[in-house]
Subunit: 302 residues, 2 copies
């Protein structure tokens, strides 16, 4: 079976210099699974409140995302409010209401227990390990995290990292986690915690992948209109892991292709609010954008 | 004949978290011409004071840089003092003593007047135009500038840009010059001032080249030890223009190779203080680093 993701489903209210969206569909698992759904079968484990409308469920179903693991409990769905200035690399959180997410206990449905690929989106590292305790023997475990856990639950996070093959992380978080301002040294230090592959997301500056002794630098697509960067990192993760899961080939060459595929998906996502741009892509659009990345980065031997 | 560069020769005192250098050889024309000298014949026009030691002259001669245009006048050589924190992308200027550079009037020796390629390093845009008045009919004019002139001599700079084919500029300066936070829009606006090619230097995030309808994103080499970023931009410029001048082929493909060659030279330069690392390179080291850039950026078609 395909790709299992555990994370958040949320309502985002976002303001950027180009407009705003109120209570739009968001959350790490939502962006991730929508993006990954273009490449592979995805099963989503998350929690929503009783205010979560049927239309969002229906949308996720149109993407053929398996929702057996989507718990509905009494209360309100997780809500995040944020604002971006012209420097779209940095979100300013205005408010976070965890609501039902606060007592989220991921319960992996029996059908998902033999998942071969697991993505632990940015949730409490205790819960991330709890998920790994519930699945049998995944071939690949990838995870994301954030400054909140690096500061508040460092020991638990380090324990989780021992079990993780691929870590996806922002540049500032990589520096914070390792205590190293230099990203090459930061990646080496993080690799010593467990993950064989460190994928460092740098927003508009692209992605660095450290994998054994090799380094891959992927560009970001220079876009004229970036409307809303919310979810770009998770959309990247979905394209990256979705593509890898579809081919189940973890060679260096293929990981690099997957990094570009993630970048392709993220480049679409930032062109509109919420999931509006990645809701309904044609696969031919994805392939065409991949070829644009090829052109963008191409240079000849001397 | 080869490449003519007009700019500054200076003493730099630099402090970084990794050490310091006092009154070391620096200046835009020095870094540029040393870097370019690995690829083509370079003629340098600049001014130094009577405190400029013979050993530096001798060094520039070992690089076969033509110094007929290096004026020596009474007084002290230009001095810059700066400091970098762990974020090596940004220099904090501690002091600038223009000294003899304050009354610099570039005088192009008769032998240089038919220069085919001219690089106007970061000097007063009035002087940049004055230089262009003294040369006959260069095939290519490239220029650099900085925030100081964008703020203080905007109108003069815009006049200079009309005469420039290739502008090399930092990302923050591109934003400042165009009034556009988005770099794609910024490049388009700057192109409307004159330059057909806009090369945006982003420090550790690499380089973007906008050339007609195409965009090229070049990575920077992720280095474990960056000792001193002083001169990286000019060293980049020297590799870029030096390589182009050596082949006199301004096709898109070749411009891209030149961008990588500039990035190669800059990646060496930051590994040590002043010009220490690029003083004495073997061409085989340059080619090997170019191949490392190839590996760094390579990914396959899907």
């Amino acid at each position: 079976m395909g790709l299992l993701v555990v994370g958040s489903v949320a309502f985002d209210s976002v303001e950027t210099p180009f407009g705003k969206a109120e209570d739009a569909l968001g959350g790490s698992a939502t962006f991730f699974s929508t993006s990954a759904s273009y490449f592979t079968d995805v099963s989503l484990v998350a929690v929503v409140g009783d205010d979560f409308p049927e239309k969002h469920i229906n949308f996720l179903k149109t993407r053929k995302i398996d929702l057996k693991g989507l718990q509905r409990t009494e209360g309100k769905t997780f809500r995040w409010k944020g604002k971006y200035g012209y420097d779209l690399n940095e979100a300013h959180t205005l408010s976070t209401e965890l609501n039902v997410f606060e007592s989220f206990k991921p319960k992996i449905p029996a059908e998902y227990k033999d998942a071969e690929v697991v993505f632990l989106a940015n949730i409490d590292p205790d819960l991330q390990r709890d998920v790994l305790g519930q699945v049998k023997k995944p071939k690949i475990v990838a995870a994301d995290t954030m400054n909140f856990w690096i500061e508040g639950k460092r020991d638990s996070l380090i324990k989780t990292l021992k079990l993780v093959d691929i870590l996806l992380i922002n540049d500032s978080e990589a520096r914070q986690l390792s205590g190293e301002p230099n990203l090459v040294k930061a990646a080496r230090k993080i690799a010593a915690y467990g993950p064989k592959t460190i994928v460092i997301k740098r927003g508009e500056h692209g992605v660095l992948m450290f994998h054994k002794e090799s380094v891959f630098s992927a560009p970001a697509m220079p876009l004229e209109d970036v409307f809303d960067p919310t979810g770009a990192g998770d959309t990247f993760g979905g394209g990256f892991m979705g593509y890898l899961s579809s081919v189940m080939d973890w060679s260096e060459n293929n990981m690099r292709k997957a990094i570009i595929m993630g970048s392709v998906m993220a480049s679409f996502n930032v062109e509109d609010f919420s999931l509006n741009r990645i809701k309904n892509l044609e696969y031919s659009e994805i392939e065409a954008r991949y070829r644009e990345f090829k052109k963008l980065a191409h240079f000849e031997d001397i």
